[in-house]
């Protein structure tokens, strides 16, 4: 831990590297951070408000308040999965606290999340909604909890992937399943399209809790239920400690495996 504090600057530089390199050679550059969720929103709004006639008020906002946190979580975990293996030249040739590799990925994704949320808030303001101002502290809590959970999973996958490369292949399908198991594009309420047993299953998904936290601040404008908040806290702490422990156990052997 102390070692990681000493590597703050490295962490910052690697995060900046992730951000710079990603858009370095594209014409629109950083704009893609915002264009991607907006295009996704357009596609899903088109499908759900015309094809399926989803009974959701302000579907675009409902979608984005679920999609932005989920996209952050997915990109963090998925990109981080390859972070140790993908930096094998560094891992084999230089010593530094290995945890900075997945952490830099999560941080760079967090920058994307914050930008996305900022635009979302502006959009809400433009459409005449200012209620979210009251709930900003809730939003901060939601971001922190989700970031903890994502960091935990990112470290777990990054560490394990150094030993079992199959993880890299598996994540694409796994996250697609996870996406549909999270109420991003459908409502989670009685009388909705889902039978109650499916709803109960989906409530077991920790991402559901996080999405609900984001929505309570940005969509419903009310404080979340205590069970949701507690559930999210427990999930965050558990995942972060699991990922942290596993990663640091495995880290000394990375140089031999990648």
């Amino acid at each position: 831990m102390r070692e990681l504090l000493g590597a703050r600057e490295l962490l910052r530089n690697l995060t900046v590297r992730e951000l710079k390199v990603r858009y370095k050679r594209s014409a629109l550059g950083f704009l893609w951070t915002l264009l991607n969720p907006l295009l996704m929103m357009a596609v899903f709004t088109a499908i759900f408000s015309t094809l399926f006639k989803a009974d959701i008020d302000r579907f675009w906002l409902y979608f984005l308040t679920g999609y932005l946190p989920f996209a952050f979580f997915q990109a963090s975990a998925q990109v981080a999965t390859g972070s140790v293996v993908g930096n094998s030249n560094l891992v084999k040739k230089v010593y530094f606290p290995r945890a900075v590799l997945p952490l830099a990925v999560v941080l760079s994704q967090a920058v994307h999340l914050l930008l996305g949320l900022a635009v979302l808030l502006v959009a809400e303001a433009v459409t005449g909604h200012f209620d979210w101002i009251l709930y900003l502290p809730m939003l901060v809590v939601a971001i922190v909890l989700l970031a903890m959970f994502s960091t935990g999973l990112a470290m777990l996958l990054a560490g394990a992937n150094a030993f079992v490369r199959d993880i890299q292949e598996f994540t694409t399908v796994a996250f697609l399943m996870w996406f549909y198991a999270t109420p991003v594009i459908y409502p989670l309420k009685d009388g909705g399209p889902l039978p109650s047993w499916v709803q109960n299953l989906i409530r077991l998904n920790p991402l559901t809790e996080y999405v609900q936290l984001f929505r309570s601040a940005l969509y419903d404008y009310r404080w979340p239920g205590l069970p949701t908040l507690l559930g999210a806290c427990v999930a965050s702490v558990l995942m972060l400690s699991l990922g942290w422990t596993v990663f640091n156990r495995l880290a000394p052997r990375f140089a031999k495996e990648v």
């Binding site: 000493g6 590597a7 600057e9 490295l10 910052r12 530089n13 690697l14 590297r17 710079k20 390199v21 370095k24 050679r25 930096n87 030249n89 560094l90 891992v91 084999k92 040739k93 230089v94 010593y95 530094f96 030993f163 079992v164 490369r165 199959d166 000394p252 140089a255 031999k256």
Partner: protein, 407 residues
């Protein structure tokens, strides 16, 4: 901090270190192999280091010598903290910087400047510290790099890339510097610059551990030598001593007869003749060689017993070992005459240095009239630098004339 407690920065204590690797006959990386084939047959254990103990004081310079696979590089990685030892303990005190690969961590899409700061922080140096040495670093890397410092490094030539990597590594002043085979980069001028800089670090009291196959470099750079063989320390002492013993060992192993093999300074032969006084004669009035100059490699060959029509040969190589030119009196059907014991001949190879600027080394030899038995062989007995204006890259001066006219 383990045994011995705290020590001054720059100390390294390696205590009975063992390092094992698993060798997979077929690299098993899938879940199935990992989970279900955890039997002994999966990987064979290979011990790269077997009980190495080594202590470095601040300011020590130590050369690690040994054949390929002897564990030198593994030991460097263990000292650098990249590989934790399987058994035993390693303590390094102070800041360690490793030069196991130049420009490790450079990203092609980032500019030279961005990469310098990134690389600095990877090696553990703060932005403010890199700020203070940035200008020196860029100046060291040369004008080409300085002009391109704000361009992405993917646009750099491989030479520029290595120069920048080297410049970064040698300007961050660590307490312990670990160098693996990265000394031979760039042209002769840049190499000299690199050595000067490493000598400077040495004078500043940086502890240095080096692996290189260039034994002459090692004995001039290092005070101490450690010879590793199959993961064990077989000899320690001054670098010069250890290098000599190691050379003797190579000659023993390879015997006296394998003509033309790159042996890094080995001297061997049956002893029927002795070659002495090996020297380079340059054009009158200068002591440097410029592209196109006439030069001569000369030596004295003394017969220790009666020999008939001995063969004298010369091999010229580039500094990286590239075989450039090999000639001898046998191939030229040039008679040299018979000698009685104690008689000597003066042998002279007059050459034209059709060589581009760089460092070149000469091997000279005397052998039996049929060339099949070596009397005396001096590998890399003589090195010389060719200077000249930079108009071409490579080895051979083909003296291009470029004509550009309207089509």
């Amino acid at each position: 901090m383990g045994e011995g407690g705290a020590r001054p920065p720059g100390s390294v204590v390696v205590t009975d270190v063992w390092e094992s690797f698993k060798i997979y006959s077929e690299r098993a990386e899938g879940i199935r192999d990992r989970l279900f084939a955890r039997r002994k047959s999966v990987g064979e254990e290979f011990w790269a280091l077997r009980g190495v103990t080594l202590e470095l004081e601040p300011g020590d310079t130590v050369a690690l010598i040994g054949e390929n696979g002897s564990g030198k590089s593994t030991l460097l990685k263990v000292i650098a903290g990249i590989l934790p030892p399987s058994r035993g303990a390693v303590h390094t005190f102070g800041r360690t910087a490793s030069m196991l690969e130049l420009g490790a961590g450079f990203h092609g899409d980032l500019t030279g400047r961005e990469n310098v700061y990134l690389n600095g922080s990877i090696l553990g140096f703060s932005r403010t510290y890199v700020d203070t040495v940035f200008d020196d670093m860029v100046a060291f890397a040369g004008p080409q790099v300085a002009d391109a410092i704000d361009r992405p490094v993917r646009t750099y030539s491989s030479g520029m890339y290595l120069r920048l990597g080297f410049a970064v590594a040698v300007h961050l002043q660590p307490d312990v510097l670990i160098i693996d085979e990265v000394l031979a980069v760039g042209d002769a001028v840049f190499q000299k610059q690199c050595f000067d800089r490493i000598h400077e670090l040495k004078r500043n009291g940086v502890t240095i551990a080096v692996v290189s196959h260039d034994l002459d470099t090692l004995s001039s750079l290092c005070e101490r030598g450690v010879w590793l063989d199959r993961g064990e320390v077989v000899a320690t002492g001054t670098a010069i001593e250890v290098v000599d013993r190691y050379r003797g060992h190579i000659v023993e192993v390879q015997g006296g007869g394998e003509v033309g093999k790159w042996q890094g300074g080995a001297i061997y032969g049956s002893g029927a003749m002795s070659i002495t006084d090996i020297r380079l004669e340059t054009a009158p009035g200068t002591d440097t060689v410029t592209t196109g100059d006439a030069v001569a490699v000369c030596f004295r060959a003394t017969a220790n017993e009666a020999v008939e029509n001995p063969v004298f040969g010369l091999i010229v190589r580039a500094n990286d070992g590239t075989y450039l030119y090999d000639t001898n009196t046998l191939w030229r059907r040039q008679a040299t005459g018979d000698l009685g014991a104690g008689e000597a001949l003066e042998v002279r190879f007059d050459l034209t240095a059709h060589l581009l600027p760089g460092r070149y080394v000469c091997t000279v030899a005397a052998s039996r009239s049929d060339g099949k038995q070596v009397y005396d062989w001096h590998t890399d007995a003589l090195g010389f630098d060719v200077a000249g204006e930079f108009v071409a890259n490579g080895i051979v001066a083909l003296d291009a004339t470029i004509t550009v006219g309207s089509a």
